[in-house]
Amino acid sequence: MTLDNTKQPTAARGDTADLAPVLALRGITKTFPGVRALGGVDLALYPGQVTALVGENGAGKSTLVKVLTGIYRPDAGDIVIDDTPTQFQTATDASDAGVTAIHQETVLFDDLTVAENIFLGHAPRTRWGLIDWGTMRTQATEILTRIGANLDPDATLRELGIANKHLVAIARALSVQARVVVMDEPTAALSRAEIEELYDLVDRLKSEGKAILFISHKFDEIFRIADRYTVFRDGEMVGAGMIADITENKLVEMMVGRPVGQVFPTRSTNIGDEILRVAGYSHPTEFADINFGLRRGEILGFYGLVGAGRSEFMQALFGVTKPSKGAIKIDGKIAIIRSPNEAIEQGIVYVPEDRGKQGAITDLPIFQNVTLPSLGRISGNGFLKMAEEFSLARKYTERLDLRAAALDQNVGNLSGGNQQKVVIAKWLATLPKVIILDEPTKGIDVGSKAAVHEFMAELANEGLSVIMVSSEIPEILGMSDRVIVMREGRIVDEYDREGLTPEKLVRAAAGYEESA
């Protein structure tokens, strides 16, 4: 396969009236036992344009991506490529048709080199049928240069950060001469600067005439880079059109099916005495000299770039990792926390960022997830009490308005937002004093997001102290009473809610002295 992508048509950009889609989905239906994931949806992707696919979690976006990449076969409907209806029987069919996907968590191979990852499955061959390493390296360098990625083709993926891994995934997409590039929440794990680089890249792909399907929860980026939008709700397409013709509010309304009012809940600021004091917390590599106090009923935001050491510090506070120095006081008394178990006993709980790995136990039922850290309290001499387990689980899941068929349903069968509710319910059931929420709304839909925010405010009003780690500026500004900014493992600034602007936060986090 050659790498000559420049032959792709680049004309007809801008003028969309008579533009033919590269790929169109017509009436795609896909059902799973008990669930209709997609009910006859349409979607068109145009050359040189970015189509944003928006919808709440569970709206059918992921299912659609899997249909588009040949992983699922639809029950009904056509995939139309250049006006020819076709079927993707396997993932290979999809990639042969020029559809390639860049996933949220990239599916690349950590132990292979950059070049190997780019050319896996279609490496250039010598005439003996062996891999032509020289050509492969040259072509890899060529593609990497074209997307402005300064990477060593011989480096193994393990050595690269998530942003660079995305670049490799994009290089891979280009190497197969993709015509359609699906990007499934590509910016979820990226820092601000890396996101900017990704936007540049998307522009470059557009100028090469690729049709791009861009899936995102972040409205700012949708309005920044998309040309078109398609909205899904509950497996149906509820709207599509040009981005220029729609407002953010309208889009949200379409997604949730109801008008959205105030985005962040207002609350009575009734902040009490200091409940937690952290002094000089340090770690050999991740963070140093962390000092702050937290008061009753306060929401304290932690802002910073990815890699600023916020999560690492929170995990040390929760006893997962050990600090090298430092002390904490809870309610004025020195507390020693060497394990999560001791943290829970002291009333500190942590809702981790990585829900699937650290938060939810997906193959166990909801009620067992919720009661896990509270088992000691609700059991009799170490024996389980089912009735009490169910009532405790019910009390907290219903308070969080969990959407589930039954309490013995496995957590893995719930949507992302509902899984997060289960994890939060689990911690509230321990009756904590301090709850640490690490990126509490990352990757969850608008409706669940609002529910989590509302709930956070309610908890604080009831006197619970909240530490919220977030990389979303609107969330930090909308929810926090006070904001601490971390950079390179240290606290660099602290702000009150009053008079705090996004610019101040970004500058502090990035370390710019003057406004950029």
């Binding site: 650290q358 136990i361 067992q368 170490g382 969990l402 039954a406 619970l464």
Partner: protein, 334 residues
């Protein structure tokens, strides 16, 4: 914290009724297999239903089942102990050695159990304190423990255990019921209660499903695993006492290859080899199935190697069946 009772809607506790869940369970399927084999055996040999024959036959699964109960808990947490047969060899050798020094029955039992626990502790420390994978560690200690037995014994055997020591392996509690059957039943109930009715048991499933989330939820993951390695060592020691008592002698090749039969019993019982699921009831039925198959084929004078082929085929067949049914069902849907 005040909790409002005015929820929008009520989520039911259970999606399916108790009966539905029972019918769909692995244990019921396995019980069906057990009943089939039972009837096949009654047809195959007129001697099968003789109570004394059945009682004698129980020896070919009771000792393995003792270890299988502990192994089941270990496999549920995602670990494994392949050194159990090695532990029996070392434990039995230690008893034989103590016998030469004039130890009486109580001392012998104490030594048998303690050596088991010590071996378990050795495995446990390497795995939970040093973070080594259990499959590697216990393949190593499997050879290590038995190797020590070979060094001590060479091609010799320890004989001459006191007559009151033989009660564990050969004695009858009442009627045709042996002490080993009594121990088997007591352990089955004990382990069943531990796994299914206690906090400790619940945490094993949690660890097996997601060790990281377990740690983040305050479960003492390494300590729990350590306890299970000690428990498996103890059960191996107990099996060593019973087996040595039954055989009346110790050779270094004692219980050779048992680790795989124990693991087979556990997996056949529906404990996922990947951890996180399965029940003690399943292991009990699997023990009965394996015992009956061995006994039934024995009555028909089928050679041992054919028996292992049959057991192997049974394992793969029973494991593959539900997967096969699922695949066919999925194929029809597509």
């Amino acid at each position: 914290m005040s909790i409002s009772d005015t929820a929008l809607r009520t989520i039911p506790n259970r999606l399916h009724s108790r009966g539905y869940r029972l019918i769909r369970s692995w244990e019921v399927l396995l019980l069906g297999v057990a009943i089939l084999i039972f009837f096949a055996n009654t047809q195959a040999s007129p001697y099968f239903l003789d109570p004394w024959n059945l009682s004698d036959a129980s020896f070919n699964f009771t000792e393995k089942a003792m270890i299988a109960f502990a192994m089941a808990l270990l496999i549920i947490t995602g670990e494994i102990d392949l050194s159990v047969a090695g532990i029996i060899a070392l434990s039995s050798t230690a008893m034989g050695y103590a016998l030469q020094l004039g130890a009486g029955t109580p001392t012998l039992v104490l030594i048998g159990l303690s050596v088991g626990v010590l071996c378990g502790a050795f495995n446990g420390v390497l795995i939970t304190k040093m973070g080594l994978p259990s499959i590697v560690v216990t393949i190593g200690t499997m050879s290590l423990f038995r190797g020590i037995a070979y060094i001590v014994l060479g091609d010799q055997a320890f004989n001459g255990y006191p007559s009151d020591f033989s009660v564990f392996g050969r004695g009858y509690a009442f009627g045709v019921i042996t002490w080993e059957i009594v121990i088997f039943v007591v352990l089955a109930i004990g382990f069943g209660v531990l796994l299914h009715l206690t906090n400790f048991g619940r945490k094993l499933y949690v660890i097996g499903n997601n060790p990281t989330a377990a740690l983040f939820s305050g479960v003492k993951v390494q300590r729990t695993k350590m306890i299970l390695f000690l428990l498996t060592g103890l059960m191996s020691g107990l099996a060593a006492v019973c087996l040595t008592s039954r055989l009346g002698s110790t050779r270094p090749s004692i219980a050779l290859g048992w680790e795989l039969e124990v693991v087979t019993m556990v997996v056949l019982g529906g404990i996922s080899i990947l951890g996180g699921s399965g029940t003690i009831v399943g292991v009990v039925i699997a023990a009965l199935v394996m015992g009956m198959v061995t006994f039934g084929l024995g009555l028909l004078n089928v050679p041992g190697i054919v028996m292992s082929i049959f057991i192997g085929g049974l394992l793969i067949g029973v494991i593959a069946l539900p997967r096969l049914i699922g695949l066919i069902a999925a194929q029809r849907k597509r």
